[in-house]
């Protein structure tokens, strides 16, 4: 800004005068100079956040179109539109207007499908973005708070999705609301009151669609927008992370400036995302509300599922047995004011798994920081294999989620793979407990094996598959050495050693420190040390290799 006011530039043309007038008051050129020079590193996995942002923009645009025609009223009406199988059927105005959007409004069905596909893509890209950030360690200092903002955004996007899913008031969305109602009512003592408060009386009542509509189009998008602004502001403040490579360290960012190439690319990418969503909306049905019919509390259709992002909670409900080891999960507790029902069969699966996932998600950066005592700023990412324990924890969490996710489609697994629904449930119940443990062990071993492979290649080069016979008769396989740049990627990482507990001022290792030492062992005990310069020297100087390699070095790997 100061640069703009100090300028001695005098415009010569009319347009120049206007531009200069605006610039001197707004300081646009200063902002542009600052942002245009912002450097971003290039990697495909960095673009999921962008996909999420663009899907959100698509959601705002298509959602605005839908609000012009949607009427969130639960007043009763008789359908009188062109869709024959529902003609004359009694339904709510909300459902009737959703049908009108689908069949009467020009482009309405397309916009509805754009909105719904974009919603699925939004939550999916947010999730993939979050997985990328976790597995590469991008949540470490100074980005812990931005990780929390991201976690809030995941929850908000699920809330936005669910409130939208419930709006058309078709059979499917009503069934979903009934589950929410059941979960609320399972909360001890206050559950029924909460449900009556939300639904304005006994389910389904006559107000819920209007209330969800306000949440869906006003409150939740506004908070999401606010969080997105905070999220992006912090990205600018922290600068973007980068993958490890030669010349990259925690004090620089290697990449290309925003202007002009990156800005053009980002703009183009928005249209690519829009194009993909539009193509899906044009060619593939999503949420065919006309199939489901109006909501009526009595029927429940087979194959009733929530959209994918709520699936894992639905799956947990499906996995929970009503009786366990001959004990009922439902208790009638006599209290001074009467008997209350404690429905653990609903309460536990609805709250506990989600509670575990989100607690670990929000606290993980601090847990890891406490264990590693690593208080440095990190701008260079970890390759997931180089932090085997964190990667294994992530994979275990992912499998935990996926087991519940699969359980939400247990009926379709049963019919499509011709297996018994009961067996699917039993297997998934077992996997719910065993799956994450197995996943942890397997992922950790795979990560360590990949590290060993890296070390081997760094020390001895790549096997070429060429067998050479030496003059004295010995056969050897030729190893091709890596070039410096490729080798850097394989050796340039930290591999901390497990720490013993640190004694406090009195010289005593207290309980907390002992626990930390234990966790540090758990984290770092199994390790593959990166090849040191001395080892590299020794590896390359391995007598019998050298003679062959000398003639081979022009053919250094370049795959």
């Amino acid at each position: 800004m100061s640069a703009a006011s100090e300028t001695t530039y005098t415009p010569t043309t009319k347009v120049g005068h206007i531009t200069n007038f605006v610039d001197e008051r707004v300081g646009g050129s200063g902002i542009l100079r600052e942002f245009g020079r912002k450097v971003f590193p290039d990697h495909w996995s960095f673009m999921f956040g962008e996909v999420a942002l663009y899907s959100f923009v698509i959601l705002l645009l298509s959602g605005t179109f839908l609000t012009f025609f949607f009427d969130p009223s639960m007043a009763e009406t008789h359908y009188d539109g062109p869709y024959v199988p529902l003609k004359g059927i009694e339904m709510s105005v909300a459902y009737s207007s959703s049908l009108n959007i689908s069949f009467d409004i020009r482009g309405g069905l397309f916009m509805r499908q754009v909105h719904h596909w974009a919603a699925l893509l939004f939550v999916a890209s947010v999730s993939v973005h979050m997985l990328r950030v976790f597995f590469t360690g991008a949540f470490r200092k100074p980005r812990e708070l931005n990780w929390v903002v991201g976690g809030v955004l995941v929850i908000l996007s699920m809330a936005a999705g669910f409130t939208g899913y419930s709006l058309p008031d078709d059979l499917l969305s009503g069934n979903g609301l009934r589950i929410i109602d059941g979960v609320m009512k399972s909360i001890p003592i206050v559950g029924t009151y909460l449900s009556f408060f939300l639904f304005g009386g006994e389910f389904p009542g006559t107000v819920i669609i209007g209330r969800l509509y306000v949440l869906h189009i006003l409150l939740i998008p506004a908070i999401i927008l606010l969080m997105v602004v905070v999220h992006l502001f912090m990205v600018v403040v922290h600068k973007h992370t980068q993958y490890p490579g030669p010349g990259r360290n925690d004090r620089n960012v290697v990449g290309y400036p925003l202007g002009p190439v990156y800005a053009a690319k980002a703009g183009g990418f928005f249209f690519i995302v829009f194009g993909v969503v539009a193509l899906m909306a044009a060619a593939f049905t999503i949420n065919p509300i006309w199939n489901y019919g109006p909501y009526d509390p009595s029927p429940v259709s087979a194959g009733t599922q929530p959209d994918w992002y709520i699936g894992w909670v639905d799956g947990a409900l499906r996995l929970m047995p009503g009786w366990l080891l001959g004990l009922p999960m439902e208790w009638h507790i006599p209290l001074p004011w009467g008997v209350n029902t404690l429905s653990l069969n609903v309460l536990l699966p609805a709250l506990v798994p989600a509670g575990i996932v989100f607690t670990v998600l929000f606290t993980y950066p601090w847990i890891e920081r406490w264990i590693t005592r690593d208080n440095r700023e990190h701008h260079v990412l970890d390759r997931p294999r180089n932090v085997p324990t964190r990667t294994a924890i992530g994979v275990a969490g992912f499998v935990f989620y996926c087991v519940m996710w699969a359980a939400a489609s247990s009926d379709l697994i049963a019919t499509h793979f011709h297996v018994s629904l009961n067996d699917v449930t039993y297997w998934l119940r077992a996997l719910f407990f065993i799956g994450p443990v197995l996943a942890f062990i397997v992922a950790k071993r795979v990560a360590l094996a990949l590290q060993r492979k890296d070390r081997e290649i760094a020390l001895h080069g790549r096997e070429t598959g060429r067998i050479v016979r030496l003059p004295h008769g010995e056969y050897q396989e030729v190893h091709a050495q890596l070039d410096e740049y490729k080798r850097y990627k394989l050796v340039g990482y930290e591999s901390p050693l497990p720490e013993a507990g640190i004694p406090n001022a009195k010289g005593i290792v207290d309980k907390k420190e002992k626990r930390r030492a234990m966790l540090s062992r758990f984290f770092f005990e199994d390790r593959v040390a990166p090849a040191t310069p001395a080892e590299l020297e020794a590896g390359h100087g391995h007598g019998h290799h050298e003679a062959v390699e000398a003639g081979e070095d022009t053919k250094a790997v370049s795959h």
Partner: protein, 261 residues
């Protein structure tokens, strides 16, 4: 002539007359109170019944027993009626391919004539639901009313879009696309496999006709929104988004970042 007039006065003549009268009223009563009103006018000839018995002995008696009285491996078919046979044999579920949670559909083993003969034989064993009349199978009822009946009575197993669904222990409710109108009607009145019976007191013949009309309509109209992804609801939509949608997006991100300037 004298002999004839003497026989007319036979002491057993009164008993014979009484028996004939009883059989006539009993028979009429049986006809009048058949469970299925929507009965076709076709009656089976003695020849068909005889041929059907031969087919039954050769193909069905192993499990259902001689005279269809049932064995430990198959239920008695006395009183199941012609509709049950027409459905089970006509859709290929019987003769059963293998023992399992429920009989699977397969190409029909018998042609129409043989199926009719088997129906005739089983129908001759005891009164049961008959093959429905054509007037209820024309698919010209009220699709909207049928849709409402379908959602209330059928959708919890067969899915609101009739795409089928799972039942317990390997049993399932099949998808209804491609099932003939007669078979849909017969399934409702006989309750094959794990399906409950929807008799005429439960859903009137006109209501059944409406349901058939609804199913014909949704099958014929196609999907207004594009490819249906199996009409399986949010699961297939989610799978499609993750695999195809996100897959294409990832391909684009790789393409975009592979050329740095």
């Amino acid at each position: 002539m004298k002999a004839l007039s003497q026989k007319r006065r036979h002491p057993l003549a009164a008993i014979a007359l009484l028996l004939m009268g009883l059989m006539l009223t009993g028979g009429l009563y049986a006809v009048a109170t058949t469970v299925n009103q929507a009965k076709a006018e076709t009656t089976f000839s003695a020849h068909e019944t005889a041929e059907g018995e031969k087919l039954f002995i050769a193909n069905c008696a192993t499990c259902h027993g001689m005279g269809a009285s049932g064995t430990s491996s198959g239920p008695s078919l006395v009183g199941v009626g012609a509709a049950a046979v027409d459905f089970q044999v006509g859709t290929g579920r019987m003769p059963m391919q293998m023992q399992g949670p429920q009989a699977q559909k397969k190409p029909a083993q018998f042609n129409e004539e043989q199926t009719a003969q088997l129906s005739a034989y089983v129908a001759s064993l005891g009164a049961g639901p008959a093959i429905p009349a054509d007037e209820y199978l024309d698919g010209k009822g009220d699709a909207a009313a049928g849709g409402e009946l379908f959602r209330v009575n059928c959708a919890m197993c067969h899915n609101a879009a009739a795409a089928g669904g799972a039942l317990t222990r390997g049993k399932f409710a099949p998808a209804l696309a491609g099932v003939s109108n007669a078979h849909i009607y017969e399934a409702m009145i006989t309750g094959p496999q794990n399906m409950p019976v929807f008799n005429d007191a439960n859903i009137t013949p006109e209501g059944k006709r409406d349901i058939i009309t609804f199913l014909n309509t949704i099958e014929a109209q196609g999907s207004p929104g594009g490819a249906q992804l199996g009409s399986l609801g949010p699961v297939s939509e989610g799978l499609f988004l993750w695999i195809a949608g996100l897959g294409v997006i990832v391909a684009f991100t790789i393409w975009l970042t592979s050329r740095t300037s």
